[in-house]
Symmetry: none
Subunit: 223 residues, 4 copies
């Protein structure tokens, strides 16, 4: 499934019954370690040996599971984005109104940030840097996330709930950028040892209220 990364010796994903393979979870542990280390030190300042130490494996072991440092970042991204997308889709499936779904999306993103700040940092900050190849890769993969967001806006328009003069191509980015920036500041503040600058659910409410007000047709009021 992952094209660019060796699934690793234990091939954990391919043993459905899976009495824990000898290497079960090793790939996972490396990814977890990478998220932590990349978030703390930044991708370029992080040394592969630090990731290995954090994962409790030898340096060379990383290369049994990932082609190189770049591939570790990409695989991490792909792996976690897939899980997040699946989670989001499941959560949104039970909600009828486009407005409710969009609101839920905002909440879900910020909940994810609150539950796993280092992951949020890595997913949104680290991949902006790195090689041209990785920027392109990220753009592609990240597109799915934005496509989901765009579909929520488009649905709202189709349902006659949102104003018809909004451009979903632009507003999906505007909304994502808003959520992302609010998240990252919060995450950075935490890391620096400061108290929370604001509660994330308060932020979710603020953002949603703003966008609801901007998106909805005049007669609608914020739910």
């Amino acid at each position: 499934m992952t094209v660019h990364s060796d699934p690793g010796p234990g091939h954990p994903r391919e043993s459905p019954i899976s009495q824990p393979a000898p290497t079960a979870g090793k790939r996972e542990r490396i990814i977890e370690a990478a998220i932590k280390v990349f978030a703390e030190r930044g991708f370029y300042h992080a040394r592969v040996s630090e990731v290995a130490a954090e994962a409790g494996v030898a340096g060379g072991t990383i290369y049994n599971y990932f082609r190189n440092k770049d591939d570790l970042l990409i695989s991490l991204f792909e792996d976690r984005m897939e899980a997040i997308l699946a989670d989001f889709r499941a959560e949104l499936a039970g909600i009828d109104s486009a407005a409710g779904r969009l609101r839920r999306f905002v909440e879900l993103h910020l909940r994810m940030v609150a539950q796993n700040p280092p992951l949020a940092e890595v997913l949104t900050v680290e991949l902006r840097q790195s090689s041209k190849f990785m920027r392109e890769y990220k753009a592609r993969k990240f597109g799915e996330y934005l496509a989901l967001l765009e579909s929520l806006i488009s649905e709202g328009i189709e349902q006659g709930l949102f104003r018809s003069d909004v451009d979903p191509k632009i507003l999906k980015r505007a909304l994502f950028g808003a959520i992302d920036e609010v998240s990252l500041f919060w995450v950075g503040h935490q890391r620096a040892g400061n108290p929370q600058p604001y509660a994330l659910d308060h932020a979710a409410e603020q953002i949603w209220r703003l966008y609801a007000g901007g998106l909805m047709r005049p007669q609608e009021s914020t739910p």
Copy 2:
């Protein structure tokens, strides 16, 4: 003024009368070169020697004007941010209504992006990475820009134009994030050789309409 960077042999800013010193503009040329190279290759992939070549100076010359590579990025940031802030303040000074000023802010940011895409890339992308020191530095310096934005929102609330239940601390970040994301996608698209995904002034209008709708008190309509 610049604490961390050597103003350089010509000290151009300090000789107000100054017929251009023999090295006048050398510091400036290096900064211009750095913007170009950092935008193209990313801060970590850019080599100091590439910046030097682009600026038409020898590698060692960079170090007559900047302490090190980090300092070059920071100085660049400081230098350009000051100019941008001064420009924005001048532009906004002539506008009365908080709504008009906020709208103008969005337009100015996107105009800046359109006029100098590499600068936009460097200012918003490159500084997210880098060392802990630089992240903190950026947060501080960047705060002025956000403070300006916050003041515009706060004014709107004080003037009774904007809803009183919005949190300017959060919404300034939401608005900045929205503008930034829309900008960066546009910039990245351009760099990749693609046609523009959207016109930036159309984007400015969309963003403004959205935020206006969300910020303004119900009885107000988008201008």
Copy 3:
């Protein structure tokens, strides 16, 4: 007999009666694989895992039969040189004249090259490199081959067939070097996908004629 290499699980050579052990031939398969891989990639570029793959065994299995990579090369050398020497001695046993035996030696060497080019490459090229220890080892083991050659020349002198002013110590090396160089060029040419630069039996005749002319006393003519 083999001091430095584990004869392996089947110990085939030490059980003279022995119906082939379950692993019989595994050591042999590894050696064959090593000859192929070392010839193709060179000893230093060849990876042990490549040899294992070529032999159809797991990487670790190599180490049940050989101490390490160096030992694999040495064992290969020893093994094949013994077989070659036995073959040569048997072939030469039936020839009376020293001249005929020397001529046959040249033919046998080139026939061996033609029949097994990769082996020829490994035996003569790869062992020149490698560690000091291996160079010395090779010198010793290889000496037997040269000793055979020297004995043929010495016999010719004793028989009054060859000139008495030739130095067998030097000429054995000269002759070996000549045969070897002619062989290796031919082998390299083949590997590169080129057509044969010359027929090896033509080369054998040329070399023999040259050495016969140079070695034999004036009144003698090439047999």
Copy 4:
């Protein structure tokens, strides 16, 4: 002239007047060091840092003059082969008879070996190994040396001095192989701390006598 290697900062070859450039001789010193270290330890066992230490420069300096370790070997080869060829051509220019020229060639090769054993080792041993690219490169460059040898044989045939049934394509290799093997054994013996196994000029005489006897038409006698 050298295509694949940076001639280095001082560009010593390009300053014909050459008051010693600041880096004069640095490239040369590195090559000398490389010859010594490669001969002692073998190309693959030699570390770049050892070459640097031997040359009295920092590790990184090597890379101001050569692209990488391979390029150092190739450049070394090219550099010295050119000098040797020029030397040989000059020496041979003053000799009339093909036989005399061929004899001189043998003497020159062995003289070169005696004067610079490490160079002889590197030129003939180290380049046989290494990557496919280098093998091909060597074949090309080394061809010039062999072409000179072939021309000497061909001339002898044309002059009616050598037998017309000898194949210069094969015999040039046979002769080179003979000289080379005799040389390398001598060199290896020296390095191992043993007394010389034979005098090199004695070897030259033996080889020449052998080839003269084999090449010359029956009525000719060795000069």
